[in-house]
């Protein structure tokens, strides 16, 4: 692994990543001993302090600079915690801490300090904050993965915060399954990248990336990393966890599922663009999936009736938009057209805008839920006069989401259209034929975006007043709860009027981080964001047309919304996910029930079949089967006769109809084996075999008294045939192995040493016994230990059985 970059700087601000986790350690104490004060007030200091600290980096990154701080973790493996702050990571850091502060403030008023387990909530939230900071600042892919999974886990905990509800647990599990799946895929991609680039540092990977093209792992690593990004950022078809994650408390939805965590995938794509952008697959996948998600999400947002579900699908759709822009920005590596560099600018700009307006909209949805008791849009209506501040914020957020002036969404939408229109003119990779689809899909999706934005705000706040039917009597939210959404809404409007300030401070450095090497001088990135182009610009006419069509469709919504019912229920991706989960569970159940029969007979069959097949296969595949006739000695008449007796006895054992016959035949086998020992001149063995056979036959006879009559245990003929085949196979295998082992003696025997030294070294004459007690007495020591254990085992088993039987009799 390379150790060149940034090794001079140790520690420093990298420790700040862990600040929220350290702060989380004190939460239980504060919660327990300072009951009077809402725990959130203490938590609030953490993101505010971090935000102020990190804001100081803006001057460093503004012209493309960066700062590094490192904490060694496993230096021998090239793994460390690195805080690498450039334009891109600073932008995300500011979003995480800034929106984090607002969300904590909002949650102080949203969650009741007496009824909720606030300690859990804030611990999870702070862990999440640390994890997110780690994800966006890590320069080391392994620690990036670590933090990535930590976001998955803390998000799981936060979604399941109200763990007594079934829907919460279901949503938490679903998001966990999908994001962890993606995370693991991503880890695979990282490892492949590490192999290709011989480093885990992203900067070094980017520096070496020119050598990756054509590497056999390149496309695989690309797809694996993208799987991680797509699952986290809720892209098609992995978006299904996001709507179910709406069971989380609203501050969580606002923070994780609109502004930060779901953008981790976008961050990943942006961060790895310099490595993968050369690939056609990358451009097609990122742009294509992004656009598909944009279209799909906007289409289904209109169908929803739950406020947070609308916002969830809207988030999915907007994430797709940013994703497709990032894909378009990768085109800049193939084309000199400045517009593709501009796409990166548009992506980052919209990312900021989306975080502001979606955060505020989620908070408003939470306020409506909190004050009226329902999030069902069919029950709501006419809240404008009751909740004027909420309405204003919701209106600003929705109009920005729809892409109307004078809100920041308008600016990013214009840029989006501009980039998509430019894709038509790109020549490479079949874009010439399919390129026209990009602006068309983008435009249609924008129409739907427009519709659901209107649907969200006007169906809730205007129209017939249904206040009497609501679970609670609605009133305006407390001021504290409104502070955060109002700040965000102010930003929404503010960014429209001063886009170039944001562009200069935040977007430009991020773009330079996404497309390093494309700019010789920072001033090349200076994009002038203008709200007004001129009448000749196509995107203006696209906006005008979409507003026109959108208004018409919104007004006639009740008529065409039935079209959604055409899609049969069983064709949805959720049903696919559910049935996949069911299938894997049932399938695994059935599989294990199929082969885990619980019968020792079956398991023995598996074992023997495997032993026979693997050994025979190895024997022949390795050409190890050799029979050397010369090594055989002559066979004596006694040998043949004993062998005949032995075989006859064995056949009798197998075919015996009664136990007694089998035991006697077994005795005959034992005695003929001892005869063999005699023939082959092993008097000790013969003696031992003879005696042990006698004792064991006696034991058999003892046990035999108590056994029921011999019978087959429901074995069919087919079973017996299988047994016979496996038995024959094992027999043949052992014979073949024995023959070839005998024919090939690799090393000479050591027995000559024993013969030479038995009298001089060991003072004995019987080699066998001297080996047993002297040369290799260690074996004997444990063999007698085995014997002793067996004796005690028999004693214990039978005593215990007797004791149990007696206890049973007493109970009767």
């Amino acid at each position: 692994m390379l150790h060149s970059l940034g090794r001079r700087i140790l520690l420093g601000f990298v420790l700040l990543i862990f600040l929220p986790i350290v702060a989380a350690l004190f939460i239980p104490l504060l919660f327990k001993y300072l009951k009077g004060i809402h725990t959130g007030w203490f938590v609030l200091f953490v993101p505010i302090a971090l935000f102020i600290y990190y804001a100081g980096f803006i001057t460093t990154t503004m012209d493309g600079g960066h700062k590094v701080s490192e904490l060694q973790w496993i230096p021998s493996l090239g793994i460390s915690f690195v805080s690498y702050i450039d334009g891109l990571s600073l932008l995300f850091t500011l979003l995480i801490t800034g929106i984090g502060a607002l969300v904590v403030l909002y949650s102080i008023f949203y969650l009741d300090k007496d009824r909720e387990k606030l300690n859990n909530f804030y611990i999870y939230l702070l862990i999440f904050m640390s994890a997110m900071l780690g994800v966006v600042q890590s320069d080391n892919v392994i620690s990036l993965y670590l933090f990535w999974e930590l976001t998955s886990i803390s998000s799981f905990l936060l979604i399941g915060y109200w763990n007594t509800r079934d829907r919460s647990r279901f949503g938490a599990l679903k998001s966990m399954m999908i994001t962890v799946f993606g995370g693991l895929m991503m880890l695979g991609g990282f490892v492949l990248l590490g192999i290709m680039g011989d480093s885990f540092s992203i900067r070094e990977l980017i520096a070496n990336s020119s050598s990756f093209i054509g590497h056999e792992f390149f496309t695989l690593a690309l797809i694996l990393v993208l799987l991680g990004a797509f699952t986290k950022s809720a892209q098609f078809p992995f978006y299904i966890w996001l709507p179910d994650a709406m069971e989380a408390p609203t501050p969580v939805s606002a923070y994780l599922h609109s502004a930060t965590m779901v953008k981790a995938g976008l961050y990943l794509v942006a961060r790895f663009t310099p490595i993968f952008a050369v690939s056609e697959v990358w451009i097609w996948l990122v742009t294509g999936i992004g656009l598909l998600t944009l279209f799909w999400g906007s289409l289904f947002a209109v169908k929803q009736t739950d406020l947070k579900a609308i916002l969830a699908f809207s988030t999915v759709s907007q994430l797709g938009l940013i994703m497709s822009l990032l894909g378009a920005s990768a085109v800049a590596y193939h084309s000199d057209d400045a517009i593709f560099k501009f796409a990166a600018f548009a992506a980052i700009f919209h990312l900021i805008n989306h975080a502001t307006f979606k955060g505020s909209l989620f908070m408003i949805a939470g306020i409506i839920d909190h004050e009226t008791g329902t999030r069902d849009i069919r029950k709501l209506g006419g809240l404008m006069s009751i909740m004027p501040v909420s309405f204003t914020v919701a209106f600003i957020g929705s109009m920005s989401m729809a892409g109307l002036p004078p809100f920041n969404g308008f600016l990013s939408k214009e840029m989006f259209f501009q980039s998509m229109l430019a894709l038509r003119n790109f020549e490479l990779f079949n874009f010439a034929t399919w390129g026209i689809l990009f602006p068309v899909i983008a435009w249609v999706a924008s129409v739907f975006t427009f519709i659901y934005s209107f649907y969200f705000v006007f169906k809730t706040f205007t129209g017939r007043n249904k206040v009497d039917k609501l679970p609670k009597k609605p009133h305006e939210a407390p001021v504290g709860m409104l502070v955060a959404p109002v700040i965000l809404a102010t930003l929404v409007v503010g960014i429209f009027f001063i886009p170039n300030l944001v562009g200069k401070w935040l977007v430009k450095p991020a773009v330079m981080a996404i497309q390093p090497g494309l700019y010789s001088h920072p001033s090349e990135v200076d994009v002038h964001v203008a709200a007004w182009h001129d009448f000749a610009s196509p995107e203006l006419w696209m906006t005008i047309a979409l507003v026109g069509l959108g208004v018409v469709l919104y007004l006639t919504m009740t008529k065409w919304r039935k079209l959604y019912d055409i899609q049969p229920h069983y064709l949805s991706l959720n049903v696919l996910y559910d049935s996949m989960m069911m299938l894997s569970e049932n399938g695994m159940n059935r599989l294990s029930r199929f082969y885990m029969t619980g019968l020792i007979r079956t398991y023995l069959m598996y074992m023997f079949a495997f032993i026979a097949s693997i050994t025979t296969a190895t024997l022949f595949l390795k050409n190890a089967f050799i029979v050397d006739m010369d090594s055989f000695t002559a066979v004596s008449v006694y040998g043949i006769m004993t062998a005949i007796i032995l075989v006859a006895a064995v056949v009798m054992v197998i075919l015996a109809k009664t136990r007694l016959a089998a035991i006697i035949a077994l005795g005959a086998v034992g005695y003929s084996v001892s005869l063999f020992f005699v023939i082959f001149k092993a008097p000790d063995l013969a003696l031992t075999q003879l005696v042990i056979e006698t004792v064991s036959v006696a034991l058999f006879l003892l046990a035999f008294q108590r056994l029921p009559a011999l019978k087959t245990h429901g074995e069919t003929k087919r079973n017996r045939l299988g047994n016979a085949i496996i038995a024959a196979a094992v027999g043949i295998t052992v014979t073949l192995v024995a023959l070839s082992a005998h024919s090939q003696k690799m090393i000479p025997s050591i027995s000559q040493y024993y013969k030479d030294t038995v009298a001089t070294e060991a003072g004995g004459g019987n080699i066998v016994n001297v080996i047993l007690v002297d040369y290799r007495g260690f074996d004997t020591l444990f063999e007698i230990a085995v014997l002793a254990v067996a004796g005690i085992g028999v004693l214990a088993m039978i005593r215990l059985q007797l004791a149990r039987k007696e206890a049973k009799d007493e109970n009767k």
Binding site: V691, N769, F778, I784
Partner: protein, 140 residues
């Protein structure tokens, strides 16, 4: 029906001692000719099994008042003690020693620590085997 096995019992009384003496012989001869602790132990077991067959469990227990479980333990201790005794003489674990002695009655005899180890083997074999047979046979 009570059977009269006087012939069996009378023969057993004689044969038992012959087998037992043979087993002792086998045990002691082990170092130079076929035999040793294992076979010796098994032969002793065989002799006791013969007793068990001719008489009943209780009579044998009365005649041979040993706790065979404890005998197993003593055998193991003996074997392990021999093996670890070598440590005290600053030689590796399980190093045996032997020498020739001029004993009265026996004359020139070779004595070997392996014999003590073998005695352990003998005791374990007898103890464990009889424990098994007694427990299985006694479980009625």
């Amino acid at each position: 029906m009570k059977t009269n096995d006087v012939i069996l019992q009378t023969t057993t009384k004689v044969v038992f001692f012959i087998i037992f003496l043979f087993s002792i012989h086998i045990f002691f001869a082990g170092h130079y000719s076929p035999g040793g602790g294992f076979v010796g132990g098994l032969l002793t077991t065989g002799a006791i099994v013969l007793l068990l067959l001719a008489f009943d469990l209780k009579t044998v227990q009365k005649a041979l008042p040993f706790n065979f479980t404890i005998m197993t333990g003593i055998g193991l201790l003996l074997a392990l003690g021999t093996a670890s005794g070598s440590i005290f003489f600053d030689v590796p674990f399980f190093t045996h020693a032997f020498s020739h002695f001029n004993l009265p009655l026996f004359g020139e005899t070779s004595l070997h620590t392996a014999m003590i180890f073998d005695a352990g083997v003998y005791l374990v074999v007898v103890g464990a085997a009889i424990t098994m047979i007694q427990t299985i046979g006694g479980d009625t």
